[in-house]
C-alpha cells in the first residue's frame, strides 16, 4: 500500500483519539507497516470538534500529518463541517448517520457510507462507549486498511477487562460495514 491517509472527527468523549491510536497500534505493531498518528489538541478537543489522524505507508512516512485524507470518518456535525475539506477525489466518507448529514459540496467520486454506530453500540452492544469500536469495525470492513484479526488482537491487548464488550462491538461494526451500500453525494 502506498501512502494512505485516515481522518477521524467527532466530539470530545467519543473516543476519537483512541480510534486512531488503536488503529495505529494495529498497523504498526501487528501488521508491521509504517504509520504516524497525530491529533488536534487544546480547547477545541473539549466539547468542540476534535480530530485525530493517521498516515499509513509501506515505506517510511515522511510528512507526518494528513493532507488529503483517503477516508474521513465523521461522528459529529461540527467535526464534519470543520474537517471535511481536503477529502481526496474518489475518497471515502463514513458518517454516523444519526449524528451527521452530508452538507455542502464534496469532491468528485466520493463514496459515502452511513453507519449508525452510536445506535448499534447503544442498542445492540448495550454500551454506548463502544461506539468508536463499532465504527472501527465498519472502517475496517469498508477499507481493508487492517485485517479484522489484527484489530481484534489489538483490542484484546489494549482492553483485556472489556474484551467481550469490545469484541461484540467490533463484530457488529464489521457486519455493518460489510452490509453498508455506498451512495454518492
Amino acid at each position: 500500500m502506498s501512502r494512505y491517509e485516515v481522518r477521524f472527527g467527532g466530539f470530545g468523549g467519543q473516543g476519537i483519539v483512541t480510534m486512531a491510536v488503536i488503529l495505529g497500534e494495529t498497523v504498526s505493531l501487528i501488521e508491521k507497516k509504517q504509520c504516524v498518528q497525530t491529533q488536534s489538541y487544546g480547547p477545541e478537543a473539549r466539547g468542540g470538534a476534535t480530530k485525530s489522524e493517521l498516515v499509513i505507508d509501506d515505506v517510511e512516512v515522511d510528512y507526518p500529518k494528513v493532507q488529503e485524507p483517503d477516508v474521513f470518518v465523521a461522528m459529529s456535525r461540527a467535526a464534519y463541517l470543520e474537517y471535511v475539506d481536503g477529502l481526496k477525489d474518489n475518497g471515502i466518507l463514513i458518517i454516523d448517520e444519526d449524528l451527521v448529514e452530508v452538507e455542502g459540496d464534496l469532491p468528485d467520486g466520493i463514496k459515502i457510507y452511513k453507519i449508525p454506530a452510536t445506535r448499534i453500540a447503544d442498542v445492540d452492544v448495550g454500551v454506548k462507549q463502544a461506539t468508536n469500536v463499532v465504527m472501527l469495525g465498519a472502517l475496517t470492513a469498508i477499507t481493508g486498511i487492517v485485517t479484522p484479526e489484527g484489530l481484534k488482537k489489538q483490542i484484546v491487548e489494549r482492553w483485556p477487562r472489556f474484551k467481550d464488550t469490545n469484541l461484540k462491538a467490533l463484530e457488529l461494526g464489521l457486519k455493518a460495514g460489510k452490509e453498508a451500500v455506498p451512495t454518492s453525494a
Binding site: S28, C35, Q37, Q39, D62, Y63, Q67
Partner: protein, 378 residues
Amino acid sequence: MPKRIMFTMGDIACAEGALSAGCRYFGGYPITPATEIAEWMSQRMPELGGAYVQYEDEIASITSVIGASWTGVKAMTATSGPGVSLMLEAVGLAVMTETPLVLVNIMRGGPSTGQPTRGQQGDVMQAKWGSHGDYQIIALTPASVQEMFDQTVQAFNLSEKYRTPVFVLADETVGHMRERLVIPDKKKLKLEYRKQPTIDPSEYLPFKPDDDLVPPMALFGSKYQFYATGLTHDERGYPSDKEDVQIRLITRLNDKILKNADKIIDVERFMLDDAKIAVISYGTPSRSAKKAIRDAREQGIKVGMLRLKTVWPFPEEQVAELASEVDHIIVAEQNMGQVYYMVKAFAAPTPIHLMTKPAGMPQLPNEILDKIKEIKSI
C-alpha cells in the same frame, strides 16, 4: 514496565530514552506540550527507584536538577518555551559549574504564552544565547519518535562526557505524534558516565581539566571536598575577579565544546550526492522536505537535504562543505529564520533562500516543492 516495542508519542519516547540512559531524577513543572513527559516520569521514576519531583516553578525545577546531578544521579527536566525562559538562569549556572543535565524543550508557538498546543521552532537561538555571558551549548533536534528516544540517550551521553547542560529541542509535532518505538536492549546501549577523580583528596583541584578540557567531577558525599560556584573561579573552585582567571575559564568552557564539535555533531545527508539544490532543515519541517525532495526527484530535479540532528554546536564545516557542492541552499524552518543566519554565516557566497513558517504547521511538502521548482528555474 512498558514493552520493548511500542506505538507511542515522542514525549513518551523521550522519557523512556532518559530512563534507558540511566536518568533517575526528574524535576519539573507541568506545561503543554511537554506534560506527557512529566506524567510518564511520575509513574516510571518511582518504579525504578528514582524520583519525580514537581516543583513550584521551572526555576526550582532545573536548579533542583543541578543539585541532583551533583550527587552523581543523572537528572533532567522537560518544559516548553515559557518554561525555558525561566530556566535559562540555571542553564548558565550549570554551564559555569560544569553540571551534566538534560533539558528537553518541546517547542510551541511564542513569544510569551503564544500557542501552547501548536508547534514552532522559535527557540533555537534561545537555546544558544538565552543565558547571559559567553558560553557554548549542545542542542539536538530529533525528527521522529524513535529519534526522541535515541537522541535523548545521546543528550545524556554528551552531558556526562562534556559536563554540560544539553538541550533536546523538539517541536510540538514530534513531541505529540505517535510512531513505532523500538527500545533497544539495555546491553546494546552505549552509555557515558562522567569522570570522577581518582587522585588523593588532598591534591584534588575540582576545576582542573584533563587533556580533553573536562575536569573530573567529585560528588556530594564523596571523600572529596569542593566548592562549586557560579562566580568565575580558578582551578580550586575559588571565586576570582582576576582577568586571567576569567579568560582561562571562559576559553576552556567554550573550547571543550567547540574543539570536540566533530564528535558531537550529527547530520543526515539525504540524496545529496548529485544535488544541485540542497534543503537545510531539522525537526518536523525536515520530514516535509523529504517528501518534497522525493517528489522533485521524480520530476528529475537534483535536490537533496542536509538534515541537522545537532543545531548547537552549529555544523559549520558540514554547511560550508555543502555550500561548495551545490548551487542553491534552501533553509526551511518553522520560525521567522534562525538557523538561516548561521547557514548564511558559513555558506556564503552560495545563494541561500529562506522558507519561514511562524505558525503551528510546518511547511507543507508541496510548498517546499514549489520553492525547489522556483529556484530550479532561476
